[in-house]
């Protein structure tokens, strides 16, 4: 088959000089390089960083934020956003602790996850079907969810006496925390879902071009809504893990966790404009943020610098993302 134009327009991919391809490669894999450098710096500064105990503790410590980042990756890939995560996380923890006072732990965690899924479904329907801007929707729903948690607890702390309740958050198998195993399991399973299934493919398509996806016969609204439900489930599990770690929960558990979750996804290089990103990026982003936080402690640097560094990294990641988006736009 003759193909006149491809001859004129396609540069020979293999013959391209390394020097020309370098900037592109750095944009794609630079984030991995950053992680490796960070790991090296902290490990050299304090060899205890790579000790088994420290690594396993970090896994357990970052499990809630990491699991939520998995769900957030889906939402952001469709071009969405969810700011209600912090309130949802507190509410789910409160629900787990409340139910866990009188019921077996499994029922408690199940209830928390169910509540998370319900919150996610509400967000998903508002964003995908009613078509309210996700930013506004989730700021609003975040207030509502936080309010529900306050009403439930009347701002008291729910303590759980049942020793079995702590299993999810503090239990270990051969020294490996269950929560850390769950985090890795989520990264792998949902990463696979994203990369290998038709569902994952439609997520990229919807985020990359909503209209083109709709006109291709993809159920765009269902796809968008489903990502919020999935995130809701992750939030439920994250809340359960924290409640279990603390053997207690309260309505204002950790409002700042939303920033950790967003930072992890964005620093990894998943684009806030949707359609571009991957689960391995979230894993790398998680590694970076966790290493920085832990490194500050191990290297004995004032925690005040931590927010400066974290903030700079977010801005740098977004600047990279904007540059990429501009490249896409200019070609349209």
């Amino acid at each position: 088959m003759s193909n006149i134009e491809s001859v004129a327009t396609s540069p020979p991919a293999s013959g391209q000089a390394w020097r020309e391809r370098m900037p592109g490669l750095i944009r794609v894999y630079g984030i991995v390089l950053t992680l490796v450098l960070l790991l090296a710096v902290v490990a050299i500064g304090n060899p205890a960083f790579l000790s088994e105990r420290n690594v396993l503790n970090m896994l357990s410590q970052w499990a809630p934020a990491g699991i939520m980042a998995v769900g957030m990756t889906f939402v952001i890939l469709t071009g969405g956003f969810d700011l209600s995560v912090a309130s949802g996380y507190s509410l789910c923890a409160v629900v787990a602790a409340y139910v866990g006072q009188d019921w077996p732990p499994l029922a408690a965690f199940g209830a928390a996850i169910a509540v998370g899924l319900a919150c996610g479904l509400a967000n998903g329907l508002l964003v995908a079907v009613v078509r309210i801007n996700p930013f506004i929707t989730t700021v609003g729903s975040g207030f509502i969810i936080a309010g529900v948690a306050l009403v439930m607890t009347e701002n008291a702390v729910f303590m759980v006496e049942n020793p079995d309740f702590g299993i999810l958050g503090t239990g270990r198998w051969h020294g490996i925390p269950y929560s850390g195993m769950l985090l890795i399991l989520f990264l792998v399973v949902f990463g696979w879902l994203l990369a290998r299934t038709p569902y994952g493919e439609t997520i990229y398509a919807v985020g990359g071009n909503y209209e083109a996806s709709r006109l291709s016969g993809i159920r765009v609204r269902a796809v968008v809504a489903s990502t919020y439900v999935l995130l809701g489930g992750c939030v439920g599990l994250a809340g359960s893990i924290t409640a279990s770690q603390l053997n207690s929960a309260q309505a204002d558990l950790d409002p700042g966790i939303i920033f950790d979750v967003l930072t992890v996804v964005v620093v990894g290089g998943t684009s806030l404009s949707g359609g571009v990103g991957a689960m391995w990026r979230t894993a790398v982003g998680l590694g970076i943020i966790a290493t920085i936080s832990n490194g500050f402690v191990l290297l004995d640097i004032s925690p005040y610098y931590q927010s400066i560094i974290k903030g700079s990294i977010i801005v740098a990641a977004l600047a990279l993302d904007t540059g990429r988006t501009r490249l896409v736009r200019s070609a349209r």
Partner: protein, 518 residues
């Protein structure tokens, strides 16, 4: 009225108004210009022709300062343009009138003409001076536009005149007109020709771009032909004829000869009656046989795209009656319903509506049919690549480009992806909205070759294109629309561009005469 010096009589500083030297420009995936030299003599009308994607638009955008060359230089009356200084570019004395006009519809005709260069006295807007100048210019150009009219309410022709007036009033030495006659009726065209002649007498140099080769040969002093980002040839107009122009534009691309078949005897696949989109399209009816290519011709705004969208289930406000294989079916209310009927639309704007630009070609090809390349809920990568490779062959898409992001591909290759996306699904009725807009001739031929093969296999096709010659060449039957209505139909051999245009303008002119707003 005598020709008083509306334009300042200027001493031509140079016999060459614009000189382009060895200019090249690339965009992601496209080398738009390759070492172009071009010369516009002072006071000449210079025709610029070439197929879509030949590089005309890039060249004129550069002259107008809207794009910056990668290499090479441009001189205006002997002085090189400093591309790093936008003000310098604006002051260079070149005005461009694009197909998409830059009139601000909410502002008055008067304000539009003086946009950015409002005359002032003691720091106050001098409206009296503006009006005086506007009247002068109107008289000179033979216009009768009320200065206070909202520009948006004027006809396209008059909006275009305002743009020209803006250029004249700013005393621009060079005027670039990009397909200025495309939206104009016969009378308005004549008026524009006269104005061009008068501008030329006054020493204005004009670059005139048009797809109407007769018009180019009649109007221009010299004509340059572009192809594949290069200037192929420049001759005096007398040195060209239509055949030699076409030859130069196409190069050695083999042109698919048109096929105008007699009305097919095949069975009806699709019947549509009473198709209405409130306020846009009313009461369209047609029947489509297996293997038939039905063209829909009309001007911009005639309702062609809306008609296709309604049939494709993409307009919930639309209504009508539909039969498939003679059996009535529910009017499609969603894209998925239409797809269920086997009706699929390759939309007009492939970047915005057709493709996921950030994903590889491979993925875009199977986007509408993910289930078919999956097993047990997992995308089977081998199957996907095999399917995409097979499709590439049918489409004339280079399989070596399957892993490139759609973003990096040329317009022609992107269009092949949009077609391919549906081919995998196997439509019974394929709706094509402007399938060849902005793509080069080679790709165009491949697309029509594909369409023909599909229709030979029994697929029915509805083709909408602004390129009337294309519709006449490739459609078995042409349905003509104007102002949202069906105004006529030509069966194969009877269709001609001239007949279609006459029919359309008969309706348009009548509408203008009785004052129906556009």
């Amino acid at each position: 009225m005598t020709d008083q010096p509306i334009l300042k009589r200027r001493e031509a500083k140079s016999t060459v108004a614009v000189r382009v030297r060895n200019v090249s420009k690339s965009y992601p995936g496209v080398r738009a210009l390759r070492g172009v030299d071009f010369e516009l003599a002072t006071g000449e009308v210079h025709g610029l022709v070439g197929a879509n994607g030949a590089g005309k638009s890039t060249l004129i955008r550069m002259l107008a300062g809207a794009a910056i060359p990668d290499t090479g230089e441009i001189e205006i009356e002997g002085a090189p343009i400093a591309f790093d200084d936008p003000r310098m570019r604006r002051g260079a004395g070149i005005a461009a009138i694009y197909q998409e006009l830059t009139i601000i519809p909410e502002m008055s005709a008067l304000s539009n003409v003086f946009l950015g260069v409002v005359p002032s006295r003691f720091g106050m807007t001098d409206r009296r001076a503006m009006r005086r100048r506007f009247d002068e210019l109107s008289r000179w150009m033979g216009l009768s536009i009320v200065p206070d009219t909202r520009a948006g309410t004027l006809s396209v022709a008059n909006q275009q005149m305002l743009e020209i007036m803006r250029a004249v009033q700013a005393d621009q030495k060079v005027l670039i007109m990009d397909e200025p006659t495309a939206p104009l009726g016969p009378f308005e065209r004549t008026r524009l020709y006269e104005l061009i002649a008068r501008l030329k007498q006054n020493g204005v140099s004009i670059i005139f771009i048009s797809h109407d080769l007769d018009e180019v040969l009649r109007l221009c002093d010299r004509v340059s032909v572009m192809r594949d980002g290069q200037r192929i040839d420049t001759r005096r107009a007398a040195g060209w004829d239509k055949a030699s122009l076409v030859q130069a534009m196409l190069g050695d691309v083999e042109v698919l000869p048109g096929r105008r078949r007699a009305p097919a005897a095949a069975a009806e696949i699709l019947g549509v009656q009473g198709l209405t989109v409130p306020g846009v399209v009313s009461d369209i009816a047609f029947s489509l046989a297996a293997g038939e290519v039905l063209g829909i011709a009309g001007l911009v705004g005639a309702g062609r795209t809306e008609t296709l969208r309604a049939i494709a289930g993409d307009d919930p406000a639309s209504s009508g009656r539909m039969t498939l294989d003679g059996r009535p079916v529910a009017w499609p209310r969603s894209v998925r319903e239409a797809i269920g009927h086997g009706i699929m639309l390759a939309p007009e704007d492939r970047k915005r509506l057709g493709l996921v630009l950030s994903r590889p070609a491979l993925v875009n090809l199977v986007l509408a049919d993910l289930g078919a390349v999956s097993r047990f809920g997992v995308v089977d990568r081998g199957k996907r690549r095999a399917a995409a490779t097979a499709l590439s062959e049918r489409l004339g898409f280079n399989p070596g480009r399957l892993d490139a992001d759609a973003l990096e591909l040329s317009g022609g290759n992107q269009q092949k992806l949009v077609l391919g996306k549906w081919l995998h699904r196997g439509p019974r009725i394929l709706l094509l909205d402007e399938p060849t807009r902005g793509i080069d001739l080679g790709a165009k031929q491949e697309i029509f070759r594909t369409i023909r093969r599909l229709s030979d296999d029994g697929m029915a096709v509805i083709l909408v294109s602004s390129d009337l010659e294309e519709v006449v060449e490739h459609a078995d039957r042409v349905l003509v629309m104007a102002r949202g209505r069906q105004i006529g139909e030509f069966a194969g051999p009877e269709a001609s561009v001239e007949r279609i245009l006459n029919l359309i303008f008969a309706v348009e002119d009548r509408a203008v005469a009785v004052g129906v707003p556009a």
